[in-house]
């Protein structure tokens, strides 16, 4: 119990909708002023931001993606087999990330055409590459980037 101006004062718990519930502070003066409310709200927001930071979660998942992509590129650099390239464990894990990985894959593709097409088709179930462009990585990438813009994944 905190004493403020000589009076016992009760502050709210962080999960409370109020500064304090009367039953929590029976017989004491409730600290329900505007300053106390702001302090409590800020504290609650800070605590939630620390434990459930959506932005930090995305960054972390993206870091996982980047790590997997780097591992995949390194390990498959001298391979020609599309099957071997796509069956690399890191690539399979990226496919396992599902639609969450689509913006990152498309961003990779915008920097440099690479063998992301198998993953893109596996995740989305579509293949926007015209038959005549099959094997032309530049055009395949272009078709997927156009698809991505149409779906709102990229600008």
């Amino acid at each position: 119990m905190t004493m403020i101006a000589g009076l016992p004062t009760c502050f709210a718990g962080i999960n409370s909708e109020y500064i304090a519930r009367p039953d929590e502070c029976e017989g004491v003066t409730i600290g329900a002023g505007e300053d106390a409310r702001k302090v409590s709200q800020s504290f609650r927001a800070a605590l939630q931001d620390f434990f459930l930071p959506a932005s930090r979660e995305i960054t972390s998942r993206r870091a996982v993606f980047m790590h997997l992509a780097s591992e995949w590129k390194r390990d498959t650099a001298v391979l020609s087999s599309v099957h071997a390239i796509a069956l690399h464990p890191a690539y399979q894990r990226i496919i396992g990330m599902g639609r969450e990985a689509l913006p990152w894959i498309l961003e990779e593709l915008s920097h440099r055409p690479d063998h992301w097409f198998w993953a893109l088709t596996s995740i989305t179930g579509v293949d926007p590459v015209p038959p005549n462009d099959r094997g032309n990585l530049q055009r395949m990438a272009g078709a997927w980037l156009k698809w991505g813009r149409g779906q709102g994944f990229t600008d």
Partner: protein
């Protein structure tokens, strides 16, 4: 990829002479390069270039048929034959094609290494853990007919 890294990946290159003949390029692969094309990635998989009439499966039979459709016929020797150009197809332990190389007029071989460089090399120098062994040799007339 520098020579030291290539020698690390393909130890047999250390025992022979080889040289890098082009910078890395992801636009084409060894299968296309062996067929003298540099614009597309050839592989019998969904979304990639592969001749329509050839089964789209990663088997030695399909690769043989693909190169036969370009005028190649199976042969037995990797040595240079006047008037012919040759292709060698490598397979891994399971018999699945992994790589192809093309013979140069000087009798040596040229390979595109995945997304990496083209190199000029001895044929056996690329045998090993990445590409397995040479499983098929084909040749065609330098004028384009078998």
């Amino acid at each position: 990829m520098d020579k030291a890294e290539l020698e690390r990946l393909f130890p047999a290159l250390r025992e022979s002479s080889f040289r890098i003949t082009s910078p890395p390029a992801g636009e084409y692969n060894c299968i296309a390069w062996a067929a003298a094309e540099t614009g597309r990635w050839w592989w019998p998989a969904q979304g990639y270039h592969w001749p329509e009439s050839i089964p789209k499966e990663p088997t030695l039979t399909a690769f043989r048929q693909m190169y036969e459709s370009l005028g190649f016929r199976e042969c037995s020797s990797p040595d240079r034959d006047d008037g012919f150009e040759k292709v060698a197809v490598f397979t891994g332990p399971a018999g699945t094609p992994t790589h192809a190389a093309r013979q140069l007029p000087n009798g040596r071989w040229t390979s595109k290494l995945g997304r990496e460089d083209d190199i000029e090399h001895d044929l056996s120098a690329l045998e090993g853990s990445w590409y397995g062994r040479v499983a098929l040799l084909l040749r065609r007339s330098s004028e384009g007919s078998p």
